[in-house]
Symmetry: C2
Subunit: 385 residues, 2 copies
C-alpha cells in the first residue's frame, strides 16, 4: 500500500479505534420509541397530527425562521420553495455544480433549467466573486429582469447549498442576487445546526429548505422542511403540499395543481425526538472534527475542511481535501479505507458531468472540478467522538 | 328535519350505534408497534431496510403481481408508472372525471394532458362503452398511434381508477385500450384487496399503483406502490424512485433524472403489520356492507353501491347513491349526518370542474355529473362491523 492511504488509515484508526465505521448513521437514544409508539396509539400516523404541528413549531423555534412546513423530503421542499420563489418553466436557476443531484432535479421538475456555477475553496459552496464575474459577462438586462445572453432565458433564482454543513458566503451571495434580481433560495439540506454570523442557515433567502433523510444530522426516515419568514409563503407551501385542497367540511375543491408532499405524522414523531438530541449531535460532531484535526495534523498532502470564518458549521460530513499533487491517489485512498472497513466517499459527480445534465448552461468550474478530484468524506456519525 | 336525512341517520345509527363515527380511520391492533420499534432499533429507518424489501415481497405475493415497488405515496407511484408506460410531455392520457385529483395531477407532472372520460353506473369507474363511442368520434389514426383529432395530441394511456374499491370493467377497458393502442395503467389506490374475475386489481394493466395513505384500507402513514409483471419495468421503477443512482461502491452517478420517491423503512414496517391484518379488515368491511344493506333496505329514495358482477370489492368506502329525484337533498343529508357526528362526504368535485383543469379535453360526462350530485360516502372504518 502507498504511504498516503496507509497514513490516512492510521489517522482514522487513531480517532475511531479498531471498529468498522460507516460514513454516517442515525442515532436513536432519546424519545424516538416513545413518540412513535404514542403516534401509532393515537391512530394519527398520516398527514394530519400533533407531531407534525409540533415538529414544524420546534423547527421554526430552533432555526429562528418565522415558519417551517414539513414535507416528505428535501427534494420536495426545494421544488415547492422554488415554485413559490416564482420560478417558472424555461427560467434559469443558478445552482452549484458541486451538489447532490436533488438540487438540480428540483429545478428541472418545474420545467426550469439549472445553470451550474463554481464553488469557493473556503466554503465548498457557490463562489460569489466568480459568480459576479460570470454574470457580468453573461447576464443582460431586459426590462425588470436579467437574461442569459446566450440562451435568452430569464435568470430567476440563485440556490446556494451549504456543502457538508459549511455555510456559503451568504452576504456576498445576497448582494449578487440583489444586483441581478435573482431570488435567493437556500438549499440547507445538509446544514441543520449551521450558522452564518450567528444566524441559522436556511433563513437568509426568501425561502430555505432542510432534509431529514436517513443520512442527515437528524432523520425522520424521509423528510424535509421549507423555512420562511413570510407567513403567506408558508401558508401557500402548506397548501401546495396538501394537494392544494381548499379547507371545507366535506367538499373536495383544489384551486391549483398541488402535490402530495405532506410529512406523515409518524415521521414527524421521529423528528421531534431527534430534534431534542440535535445539540448533543452537534457537540459530538464538533469533538470529532477536533480529534480528526489532531490525528491528521502531521499529514502533509491533505487538509481537513474547517468551518468558514464567521460561521458555525454542523460538521455534518467530515471532509479531507487532498493537495493537488496527491489528487491522483484519491481512488487508492477510497479503496484502501473502504477495504479496511472505514467508509469514505468522494464528492458527488459534478452536475454537468451527469448524463442528464450534460448540455446545460454552465459557468467556468475550475474550483468545483479541482475539489471533485481531491475531496474525501470521512466517517462522521454523531457518537464517534 | 326532512324525512330523508332523518331516515338515513336512523339507518346509520341502527348499524353504528350511538357513537360518533369518522369516515375512515386506521386500525393498529396487530404487530405495528413491534415492527416499528424493531425498525428504529435497527437504525435503518430510511430508504434502505429489511421492511421495505419484505413489504414489497408481501405485496407482490398478495396481489399476484410479479413485482411491487414501494414509494412515498400513491401519487408518486402513478407518476412513475405513467412515465414507464411511455407517457411523454404533451401526450393525452384518459382518466376518469370522477376521481381524486391525484390521478390527474400525476399526468400533469409529466407535462402530459389529462383527458376526462365518463363513468359507468354499475362500477363508478370508466365506462368502456361510452369511451369506445367517444374515441370513435374523437380519435384519428396517425401511423402507429391515435391522436385526438381536435387537439392533434397523441392519445397515449388509459388510467381506470377503481372507485371506492369497486373494480372497473377491466376486460372491456383492455379491449378499448388495445384497439386504440393506449397503454393501460391502473390506479388501484383505493382497491387493495379488490378482485376482478378473481384476479387482483392493479395487475391487469402494464403497471398498476396502490396507495397506503392514512385513509386507505391499510396505511403506512404515507405510501404507495407500483405493481407490474415486467421485471425490467420494476427495476426501472426502483431506479427512478431512488434518484436514478447507479449502484457503485462510492461513486454518485445518476444516469437519468430520477425522483426521491422511495418509501422509508419505518413506513414499510407499519405496512408489513397492516398487511397481515388485511384479511380481517376485508371481512369487517364486507360485514359492514351487509349490515348497511339490511338497515337501508326500506329506504326508497337511495340505494347502496354493491360490488359489480364478477368482482370482489374491498368495500373501502361504503357508498349511498340517491335517486335522481332525491339529488337535491344531498347537501341536507351531508349537513344532518355530519351535525349528528356521523361523518359522510360527497363525491370529489369532478376533475373538469376544478379551476386548474377547467380547459382540458373531455368526453361527455352525463353519468359522472349525475353520480357527483347523488353520491354520499358513509362511515366505513374496519372494525365498525
Amino acid at each position: 500500500m502507498n504511504a498516503l492511504p496507509s497514513a490516512i488509515i492510521d489517522a482514522l484508526r487513531a480517532v475511531l479505534g479498531p471498529e468498522n465505521a460507516t460514513l454516517h448513521e442515525p442515532r436513536f437514544q432519546g424519545h424516538e420509541q416513545r413518540y412513535v409508539q404514542d403516534c401509532i396509539a393515537s391512530t394519527f400516523v398520516s398527514s394530519v397530527g400533533a407531531y407534525v404541528d409540533r415538529f414544524e413549531r420546534e423547527l421554526a423555534d430552533y432555526t429562528g425562521a418565522r415558519r417551517a412546513v414539513a414535507v416528505v423530503n428535501g427534494t420536495a421542499a426545494l421544488q415547492i420553495a422554488l415554485q413559490l420563489a416564482g420560478v417558472e418553466a424555461k427560467d434559469e436557476v443558478i445552482v452549484p455544480a458541486l451538489t447532490f443531484v436533488a438540487t438540480a432535479n428540483a429545478v428541472h421538475y418545474l420545467g426550469a433549467v439549472p445553470h451550474f456555477a463554481d464553488s469557493a475553496k473556503n466554503t465548498l459552496g457557490l463562489d460569489p466573486t466568480a459568480l459576479r464575474d460570470w454574470l457580468g459577462a453573461t447576464a443582460e438586462r431586459s426590462g425588470d429582469a436579467w437574461r442569459n445572453r446566450h440562451t435568452g432565458r430569464r435568470l430567476r433564482a440563485l440556490v446556494p447549498m451549504h456543502t457538508f454543513g459549511h455555510p456559503c458566503d451568504l452576504n456576498a451571495l445576497l448582494s449578487v442576487a440583489h444586483d441581478y434580481r435573482l431570488t435567493l433560495v437556500e438549499d440547507a439540506a445538509e446544514s441543520l445546526g449551521s450558522r452564518y454570523h450567528s444566524r441559522h442557515t436556511g433563513t437568509f433567502g426568501r425561502l430555505g429548505t432542510l432534509s431529514f433523510n436517513g443520512n442527515k444530522i437528524i432523520t425522520t426516515g424521509g423528510g424535509g422542511a421549507i423555512l420562511t419568514d413570510d407567513k403567506h409563503l408558508a401558508d401557500h407551501a402548506k397548501h401546495l403540499s396538501t394537494t392544494a385542497k381548499v379547507p371545507h367540511r366535506w367538499d373536495y375543491m383544489h384551486d391549483e395543481i398541488g402535490y402530495n408532499f405532506r410529512m406523515p405524522n409518524i415521521n414527524a414523531a421521529l423528528g421531534c425526538a431527534q430534534l431534542e438530541q440535535l445539540p448533543k449531535f452537534l457537540a459530538s460532531k464538533r469533538r470529532l472534527a477536533a480529534r480528526y484535526r489532531e490525528a491528521f495534523a502531521g499529514l502533509e498532502q491533505a487538509s481537513l475542511m474547517q468551518e468558514p470564518q464567521g460561521c458555525e458549521s454542523n460538521y455534518w460530513l467530515q471532509t479531507l481535501i487532498l493537495d493537488e499533487a496527491a489528487a491522483d491517489q484519491r481512488d487508492a485512498i477510497l479503496t484502501a479505507t473502504n477495504d479496511a472497513g472505514l467508509m469514505t466517499r468522494p464528492a458527488w459527480t459534478l452536475m454537468h458531468q451527469l448524463p442528464p445534465y450534460r448540455d446545460f448552461p454552465l459557468a467556468p468550474l475550475p474550483m468545483a472540478e479541482s475539489l471533485a478530484r481531491r475531496l474525501i468524506n470521512l466517517p462522521s456519525s454523531a457518537g464517534l467522538a
